[in-house]
């Protein structure tokens, strides 16, 4: 069985036939050649495959492509390129927010989604006052909100610094 879907990826519309088993992660990497999105654990535990689905950060490994008919996906390739970096990409370079770089696309896509969540006033587990309509961005909030992205090289201090810097803008 195959399922017909329409999917917009980084602004480009694709008409696709997918095996129902195909995850968004495998679709991006194997069918669309967008290998910026990384496969780490393939079980939603590491965050390396984080992408934005209709602007919301999700684990691409835990989404069936068939479920995403008519959705819009943005991957690391859609955020910026070497000529025009996304502010978060620039901040990761500036603060040396990586070592091996494998988790970086997921970290950056996750940070884009996270800053939008923060801006909309969504609380986190470390937000002291749940009733407050706005949440201040500080290190504890960033660490808690980014806990779904594991960095095996433990570049966390610089990742946090990069996000805090880009988030100020």
């Amino acid at each position: 069985m195959t399922v017909d879907i329409g999917l917009t990826v980084n602004g480009v519309r694709h008409e696709l036939k997918v095996d129902p088993r195909t995850t968004l992660l495998d679709l991006l990497r194997e069918q669309l050649g967008l290998t910026g999105t990384k496969k780490g654990c393939d079980h939603g535990q590491c965050g390396a495959c984080t992408v934005l689905v209709d602007g919301v950060r999700k684990n691409a490994c835990l989404n069936l492509a068939a479920s995403l008919d008519e959705r819009g996906v943005v991957t690391i390739e859609g955020l910026g390129d070497e000529h025009k970096l996304h502010p978060l990409q620039a901040a990761f370079v500036e603060h040396d927010g990586f070592q091996c770089g494998y988790c970086t696309p997921g970290q950056i896509c996750s940070a884009v989604g996270m800053l939008a969540e923060l801006k909309s006033g969504l609380p986190s587990a470390v937000t002291a006052d749940l009733k407050a309509p706005a949440v201040d961005m500080h290190e504890d909030e960033v660490r808690e909100r980014m806990s779904g992205n594991i960095c095996r090289c433990a570049a966390y201090p610089n990742i946090v610094a990069a996000i805090l810097d880009a988030g100020k803008a």
């Binding site: 069985m1 399922v3 095996d19 129902p20 088993r21 995850t23 393939d42 079980h43 939603g44 965050g47 984080t50 919301v56 950060r57 999700k58 684990n59 490994c61 835990l62 989404n63 069936l64 068939a66 479920s67 008919d69 996750s110 989604g113 996270m114 969540e117 909309s120 006033g121 969504l122 609380p123 986190s124 587990a125 937000t127 749940l130 009733k131 660490r143 808690e144 909100r145 980014m146 806990s147 779904g148 992205n149």
Partner: protein
């Protein structure tokens, strides 16, 4: 992943017909189901995608809230009414999983997520929950995360949800729809103890779909959700406690206690609650309630530490809830 067929029904009636097909399973957020399908712990033949059914609203109902089954964990914890009137529920949800997972995971799916017992996830080992009659590998195995209350010789797995523990202490109800009937199940009766049939996590019928969770009006008193885990974030509970304490001056008017990470279902400590009703506020009363909450608890070696940990976490959560009330 094994091959399966896929459909996304246009409405609930169509979904309830589709689920009648052999080996059919509902898919909502899929954060746990796909995970389990990848390791062959779940092998559905047909996937009925209900993620777009119009069940994603939170509305006020009889002084409480009606939470649609497809409301994401993020939307639930972010709802101003939940944050203001049911803070322990918002805290419980925010303490579960990662932001990416909460953005996808649904309210109904959270209730139906399966245990994270390592042996359940590993089809090369015996597991009565995954393969009834094959035995329990955890009983004599590495059982650090396993149950101390209500377990059986067939299964010592725990239910992993934080959200459900909060709903347990709030006396929520689960609304379910079958092809020709609908009903509400008290959350206390929704999940099961393992007994001899640990393959059944809940009392939900095979053709029933969760449509909503109903919260009664907000309870009086301080509300606390306390989670103890190996990492500071993004980990399952070793022990968690949802506590409600209402005071009448220096007396405890009433208290409610539910525990997570200790049993096959969210565990309500009714004896400990009874013991607290009407007694003077004191550290000793809360410590005694903690002991009462783990009365009859049984460790299996690696998880023995959970018994004193649960007792102390109950006492600590109660103390904090009472303080909140006085403040």
């Amino acid at each position: 992943m094994r091959a399966f067929t896929y459909e996304r029904p246009v409405d609930m009636a169509a979904a309830l017909v589709a689920i009648g097909r052999p080996g059919a399973k509902f898919l909502a957020g899929g954060t746990n189901l796909l995970d389990l399908m990848k390791v062959d712990a779940e092998t559905p033949q047909h996937i009925v995608d209900v993620s777009r059914l119009p069940l994603d609203q939170i509305s006020e109902e009889n002084g409480g809230l009606r939470i649609g089954a497809m409301v994401s964990n993020t939307a639930l914890a972010g709802d101003q009414r939940v944050r203001e009137h049911y803070p322990l529920l918002a805290r419980a949800v925010l303490n579960g999983a990662s932001a990416q997972l909460r953005n996808q995971a649904t309210t109904g799916g959270n209730l139906l997520q399966r245990t994270r017992c390592y042996y359940f996830y590993d089809p090369s080992t015996p597991c009565n929950k995954r393969s009834p009659g094959s035995g329990c590998s955890a009983l004599q195995g590495y059982n650090r995360i396993h149950a101390i209350l209500g377990a059986s010789d067939a299964c010592i797995a725990v239910h992993p949800s934080d959200m459900a523990v909060a709903m347990m202490v709030l006396d929520a109800e689960v609304e379910v729809q079958a092809p020709h009937s609908h009903r509400r199940i008290k959350i206390a009766d929704f999940h099961r103890l393992p007994g001899n049939t640990p393959q059944n996590d809940t009392n939900l019928g095979a053709e029933e779909l969760i449509t909503a969770v109903i919260l009664p009006p907000p309870p009086a008193g301080g509300q606390v959700y306390r989670k103890v885990r190996d990492r500071a974030s993004y980990d399952f509970a070793l022990v968690s406690v949802a506590a409600l304490v209402d005071l009448d001056g220096e007396r405890i008017r009433s208290a409610r206690i539910a525990l997570g990470g200790v049993a096959h279902k969210p565990w309500r400590a009714l004896e400990a609650e009874k013991q607290l009703a009407g007694v003077p506020l004191s550290d000793d009363a809360f410590a005694a309630a903690g002991e009462a909450a783990v009365k009859g608890a049984q460790g299996h070696g690696h998880n023995d530490f959970k018994i004193p940990l649960a007792a102390r976490t109950v006492a600590s959560a109660l103390t904090e809830a009472a303080k909140q009330r006085k403040a």
